[in-house]
Amino acid sequence: MIPQDRFRGLFHKYLLALFVAVAIPLAFNGVIESWFGYRDQRARLDQWLSLQSASAAAEIHDFIHGITSQLGWLVQLPWTDEFDERRRTDALRLLRQAPAIASLTLLDGNGLERLYISRIGLNRIESRTDRSADPALVGARAAQIWFSDVSYNRGSEPYLTVAITGNRPAVGAVVAEVNLKLIWDVISAIKVGRTGFAFVLDRSGRLIAHPDISLVLRGAEEATSRPFRAVRDAIGSKAGFATTRDAQGHYVAASAAPVHGPDWTVVVVQPLSEAYAPIYSALWRTAMLLAISTMLAGILAYALAHRMTEPIKLLEEGTERIGAGSFDHRISIDTGDEFQRLANSFNRMASELALAQQHQERIAKLKRFLAPQVADLVDRAGDDSVLDGRRTEVVVVFCDLRGFTAFSAGAAPEEVMSVLSEYYESLGRVIAKFEATLINFSGDGLMVLVNAPVPVEEPALRAIDLAVDMQKNVQALITGWRSRGYYVGFGIGLASGPATVGRIGYKDRLDYTAIGSVVNLAARLCASAADREILIDAKVAADVKGRRPVADLGGREIKGFDEAIPVFGISFGALQPSGRGMSGTIR
């Protein structure tokens, strides 16, 4: 569970790092692009709306200019005292030509009304009313062309009075009433984008033209004009368009342009949703691209993180299994990089571990009966054919305790086991020291083989030294035991001769043993040996003669042998110290 957690943590780290590495620059790029796109679009909208308002203002200007230029025809000839019928004809023709003009007044150079033509009221000819104080005439005389404020006929239809003078006083002036309702034809034809439109406000901010004629016909009504004036005021005098709300509360983009002459303002408005549609669609596009890119980044990061952690996971699992002892497990990574190299290292290590383990197992097996250094020697040789059965000269050593059975019957089990363990520990040390082969032990008895399976130089001499060492060690123990009240002795028997040696047993319970009469002889000699005695047969005695103090003990009746056998003894006390000769005996 814990390694799995660690693995997931690494995967998440990689995933996060890779994702962030891709997604952050993407998002940054997207935001920057959106910002500049937004600014570009706004600038474009600004330019476009300004163009729309300017062109709308030009159209309104054309409407007014069309009327004034036609009125100009009426102020070209100087007045005489006689009425000229042609002036009436001209005026009627003009009325037909300019449908927005509701009535015309022609004034002579003295400001007297000479002709009045109306579509509704009765015409007047030569009324000679003095109109010289009329603000229209005064204004026109000052500036050649004069526009009144917008007035409302019967509180509904917007009217404008236009007065024009000629190029000299004698030609007089013309004053025309213009029905501004007819601007509707112009204003309703102005389309700003798909749903945008234009409207016109006079100097004081009253609505005088709008595609919805019913708004205009409400006259000077303040409530009608107020929202439109608010739009105009929102734009103000600053450059560029403004975003504001219209009468219905909808957000609009608006731009204004002046109409010179009557001093009106043309405002074009476009619903913000429509005006910003390109901006919105660009933003939306960027957002979609960002989302898709982020998704791709996520998938990519996942795939990469997976690719990077998968070998690590394999390595982890592999090392775990190898650690658990499956040395035959191999980590299979084929990435062609450091991971593969690492995996190969692990695999190599695993195979080496396997070899080491095999070695360990074999050593352990050999150590059951061989001294550790001998076992190493055998193992280093590489094969255990030395353990195969064969016939060879061996020295067999038997030893056991005297009076142990009686002691064990009377003593507590703990005491018995304590004595035995001290005893075997002491003997084991000696056996290992002399590189002898331990064949078996049972109770207090022990069988040791010299010269098999590994041949040694002077096996007899070594066996004698081994026996002497054993006696010395055990006797030292015995001294201690006696002080505790345990009365036991220790005897040894040695015999040399040919024997069949080899492994016996089955599968994991294999033992090394020697079979032959020499084994029996050694056992009998041991049995007949008293405490502190080492009994040896004639052959061993002959082998060590002159080098170790051997005492001829004469013939002895040995159980299992028909006739008395010559037995020799070695006084272990005579050998001081036992290990002196060892250096020379081992190789």
Partner: protein
């Protein structure tokens, strides 16, 4: 009566979801055809096409103006969505008199404020709005035009319909104008078709040199008959509608009925779209047209002056 029955059945064949316009018409389908066409055009401008997304329930008075109140009540009873009352003040007044809560869109020649149809032009108030063609306002102009044709005339005859709600105000204005123009007026009355002949006969007998018709839908829709009588009695005459010179009469001066009926159609459409009548100011027709018939002038022996021809919107040769 039978005609009305067959026309109204059209409305019942429509889908129940379709809005229904109640169309109260003072005349017959034949006489009203051109006006109805203009009305349909206006409806279409506002996005409604009869038979497709709006149904029209017609009531025809066939010239019997006394039946208008009953027919208006009938429309109200049918619970139409909007009542259209075109063709003159009597129709609008009849519709208004029903006291219906449904919106009424009128088309008339008179002054709707003076007739107490609306409170004001800019804010009509209540549930009624519409279009005025200015025909009534320009009655004095007709007298002036006749005076232009007959500069030497001292006595001109006026024909008024005594049943018309606008007759008194028109006569009042005509008297004032006559004073300015220094002519005497001979006032004649006609409210039925069979009285027309006696009017012309009286003028011919009494020696008045020209005949000026006051604005009145009843006269307007019988232009052909009037033109024929004018030619028969060789009397120069002027009416409010172009139908008169087109049918052979001398001339006409009045609001463009095509424009007024079309705008009534637009308003009806806007009402159906959910706008409130109080938000729709009464519209005045912008175009007042002069139509002259040169052939008739020649036949009558009264040639038009250059000024009159110059000011004419249409000259029939």
């Amino acid at each position: 009566m039978a005609g009305a029955a067959t026309w109204t059945t059209v409305a019942y064949g429509q889908k129940p979801s379709m809005p229904v316009i109640g169309y109260l018409c003072p005349e017959s389908p034949e006489l009203f055809g051109s006006r109805l066409e203009a009305f349909r055009q206006g409806l279409e401008e506002a996005g409604f096409v009869a038979g497709r997304n709006v149904a029209i329930d017609f009531q025809w008075a066939n010239g019997q103006y006394s039946r208008l109140p009953a027919l208006a009540a009938e429309l109200v009873a049918r619970n139409v969505d909007v009542i259209v009352a075109p063709g003159g003040a009597p129709v609008a007044l009849a519709a208004k008199a029903t006291g219906t809560s449904k919106t009424i869109v009128f088309e008339m020649g008179g002054d709707p404020v003076q007739l107490r149809v609306v409170d004001s032009l800019s804010r009509p108030g209540g549930n009624i709005t519409g279009v005025s063609s200015l025909s009534v306002d320009v009655s004095p102009k007709r007298l002036e035009l006749m005076r232009d044709v007959l500069p030497t005339a001292t006595r001109l005859a006026i024909v008024a319909n005594p049943t018309s709600p606008t007759a008194p105000s028109q006569l009042q204005k005509l008297h004032a104008a006559a004073e300015t123009l220094r002519v005497q007026l001979q006032i004649l009355s006609a409210s039925k078709e069979d009285e027309f002949e006696s009017v012309f006969a009286a003028v011919a007998k009494d020696g008045a040199s020209g005949l000026v018709f006051t604005s009145d839908p009843y006269f307007a829709f019988r232009s052909a008959r009037l033109a024929a009588l004018a030619m028969k009695y060789q009397i120069p005459a002027i009416t409010q509608t172009r139908d008169f010179p087109v049918a052979g009469g001398l001339m006409s001066y009045g609001g463009d009925f095509m424009q007024s009926h079309r705008r009534a159609g637009v308003y009806a459409g806007r009402i159906l779209s959910g706008e409130k009548p109080s938000d729709l100011p009464v519209q005045l027709v912008t175009k007042v047209e002069l139509v002259v018939n040169l052939k008739a002038a020649k036949l009558l022996g009264y040639p038009f002056s250059a000024a009159v021809i110059a000011g004419a919107d249409e000259v029939i040769e």
